[in-house]
């Protein structure tokens, strides 16, 4: 972003990578896949690089409103510095916070989740994933992220993206508004679960296994981690893979 600004350019969108997208070894490949798609379709975009910081979402949800607002206000100052208008992110938690919670602190942007953005690219014909036939006919199930689904009513975009792969979309018994959480939301990602008799991600992984799908599609870095761990706990890593939507599209496009 700084480089583009120095050249006097202003990109069409800011790709907000998020902390998981920047640091999580597994999830970095989602970031790269999405960037490859953006490069292929020739969208003018930028990332903040080292100037990006946590949105504050986990702090707010764990109750630390001070820290949340500190993060939010410094991020808003950075956005203002670059005159950011439109933000795309692959993380539903960042998406929810930037879209719904930054306006109260003076940060108003058009914020789009990458599932919606990918759907738009497919609708516009800029991405034609079915041509590669990489996943044709395969059984894929989609896990709804709470912060995308219930929190923001984005249920259809990720499903349309998957359908564009010419696959067989199989739903879990609990899906859309009734979808079961992966267990990571509300800052649970950053601590051990409270005492109980089962891990939530295992419970959810069982829903996914019941569908008989070979691939679990996710649209959230935390869900991706939780479900991958669930599959590991069930020792099904060989049979079942967990991928983000962007990875599936990038693979289908042979990127």
């Amino acid at each position: 972003m700084a480089e583009m600004a120095a050249k006097g350019e202003s990109p069409e969108i800011l790709f907000w990578v998020g902390c998981a997208g920047s640091f999580d070894d597994r999830y970095k490949s989602v970031t790269k896949a999405f960037v490859k798609i953006l490069n292929k379709v020739g969208v003018s975009f930028a990332v903040l690089g080292q100037e990006e910081t946590c949105t504050g979402d986990p702090a707010r949800r764990a109750g630390n409103e001070f820290l949340f607002q500190m993060q939010a206000m410094s991020n808003i100052q950075v956005f203002e510095g670059y005159n950011v208008k439109k933000i795309v992110t692959a993380c539903p938690h960042c998406f929810n916070t930037l879209k719904n919670e930054y306006p109260a602190l003076g940060g108003n942007y058009e914020v789009i989740h990458h599932s919606t953005f990918l759907q738009q690219l497919i609708d516009e014909g800029k991405v034609k994933p079915a041509d590669g036939q990489a996943f044709k006919g395969q059984k894929i199930t989609y896990h709804d992220s709470c912060y995308l689904g219930r929190a923001n009513n984005v249920y259809e975009a990720p499903r349309k993206v998957l359908e564009a792969l010419d696959i067989e979309l199989v739903e879990m018994k609990r899906c859309k508004t009734n979808g079961l959480c992966c267990g990571a939301g509300g800052a649970q990602m950053f601590k051990d679960a409270e005492p109980g008799n089962k891990e939530i991600n295992v419970e959810r992984t069982e829903d996914a296994l019941e569908t008989g799908a070979g691939i679990i599609a996710s649209a959230c870095p935390f869900c991706l981690t939780m479900l991958s761990d669930g599959i590991k706990a069930k020792e099904k890593e060989e049979e079942i893979k967990v991928y983000d939507l962007a990875e599936l599209i990038a693979q289908a496009e042979d990127l």
Binding site: T31, G49, G63, Q69, Q71, A104, A187, E194, E199, E203
Partner: protein, 438 residues
């Protein structure tokens, strides 16, 4: 004789009205303990929410069988209570079935329809009792469903079965009295459902029948009035509260957490940003951050607690509860209501040495929440347990610094590394290294 009956009736009606009035005042007082919150924007969306969710029971139909049975009870309650108008006029004026002569055949049809609903309510309540006590549907048997909530639920169902039985038995004995030409018993025509019960009374004397008919009449009207008062002490209050509660429900996206403006001012000062409110004008007392007790919650959260009918759909959908954690969203609502009632009742009020957090809700419960909104989505009357959990977490974090150690570490990471994990901020762009070569 008639005059005495009339006087007793007026006395009963007046006492019930008085008790009801007192109790409504108490509940108002309880809700008013809460902090202010504006929920009067966008009235058209609010009316629509009330019409669809409360009046139209839209969210009930996620579970079709209970929804259908509940619909019978609900319509029965609304419609059969039209007949209460006649009861009250008769009771005060000393008349008997005052509408019958005016409505003629229509009266017969109307009453037969009411009887159909009475039978439907009877059947529905019987099935509900079976579901609770014999089939033992899981969500009715959780730790927070202690002795009183369990009894309360069963009492209401038995109550409704008795009330509907009284209507049918009253109508049956009345029809026999009409056939026997008893004085005052205005012809009603043959009433569809109660006429099947006529053989029960066929062989009785007129004097016995009058006693029976009067007994059922009194039983029904005292039952209805008693029910109205009882409801205000019971989880059953949702029959009234569902309407305001759906009207004042949150219209924003479920994922959005409300901003704390008292924090905003302080953060702006810390960051050296211009504050919109003049510091000298801001209130001397900032108040507590988050919620320790019920007066720190908004009035809407307290209204939510009085609206909760303990159906447990929230708890059944809660991922934490399903995996054996202590958290139950229904338990959160019940604890909140219990605490509001305790504070509103006691002379000490909030100064009784107890608080919602600690004495009623534990940290273990609030720490188990994934903020997934499944409970909010599941509630048929738009109750929001999540906002209570969040306010309690805010108190623990900001007033007590008592969050779980792992969260405190996460806070520290964000403060020093600008990410919730312990990674160097200079490594943030490393993911692009192997793309840059391209």
């Amino acid at each position: 004789m008639h005059i005495i009956q009339q006087l007793i009736f007026i006395l009963v009606l007046a006492s019930a009205t008085y008790l009801l009035f007192k109790r409504i005042q108490f509940i108002r007082k309880g809700i008013k303990l809460g902090k202010p919150l504006s929920r009067s924007d966008n009235p058209s969306a609010r009316w629509r929410s009330m019409a669809l969710v409360a009046f139209g029971q839209k969210k009930m139909f996620k579970k079709p069988l209970p929804a259908l049975l509940h619909l019978f009870v609900y319509v029965g309650f609304l419609v059969i209570n039209i007949e209460v108008l006649e009861f009250i006029i008769d009771g005060i004026a000393g008349t008997h079935r005052i509408f019958a002569p005016f409505l003629g055949g229509t009266y017969t049809i109307l009453l037969s329809f009411f009887e159909f609903l009475a039978v439907a309510v009877f059947v529905a309540c019987a099935v509900f009792l079976i579901r609770r006590n014999i089939v033992k549907v899981a969500r009715f048997h959780k730790p927070e469903m202690t002795a009183w909530p369990t009894l309360d639920a069963n009492l209401i169902l038995v109550f409704e079965i008795l009330l509907t039985s009284a209507i049918l038995l009253m109508n049956a004995s009345d029809q026999v009295l009409q056939a026997k030409g008893a004085e005052h018993y205005t012809p009603t025509g043959q009433l569809f459902f109660s006429s099947f019960l006529i053989p029960l009374f066929q062989n009785s004397e007129v004097s016995t029948l009058i006693i029976l008919e009067r007994f059922f009449w009194w039983f029904h009207i005292i039952g209805i009035l008693g029910f109205a008062v009882y409801v205000t002490y019971s989880k059953h209050l949702h029959i009234f509260m569902a309407f305001p509660n759906t009207y004042f429900a949150n219209l924003k996206p479920m994922g959005q957490i409300d901003n704390m403006y008292n924090v905003t001012n302080e953060v702006k000062l810390m960051l050296g940003l211009p504050s919109e409110t003049d510091v000298s004008e801001s209130p001397a007392e900032v108040g507590r951050f988050g919620a320790k007790d019920v007066n720190d919650l908004t009035w809407k959260s307290l209204m939510d607690s009085f609206t909760c009918t303990e159906c447990g759909r929230c708890t059944a959908e809660c991922p934490a509860n399903q995996t054996g954690k202590k958290l139950s969203p229904r338990g959160i609502m019940m604890a909140t209501r219990d605490r509001v009632e305790e504070v509103a009742k006691s002379e000490k009020g909030l100064e009784d040495g107890k608080s919602l957090l600690g004495d009623y809700i534990s940290k273990e419960e609030i720490n188990a929440c994934t903020s997934c909104n499944a409970c909010v989505e599941a509630c048929p009357v738009l109750i929001d347990p999540l906002s209570i959990i969040l306010e309690l977490r805010r108190y623990v974090s900001m007033e007590e610094s008592g969050s779980p150690a792992a969260w405190n570490a996460m806070f520290q990471n964000i403060e020093t590394n600008f990410a919730p994990w312990k990674f160097a901020p200079t490594d943030r762009f490393n993911w692009a290294d192997d793309l840059k070569e391209v």
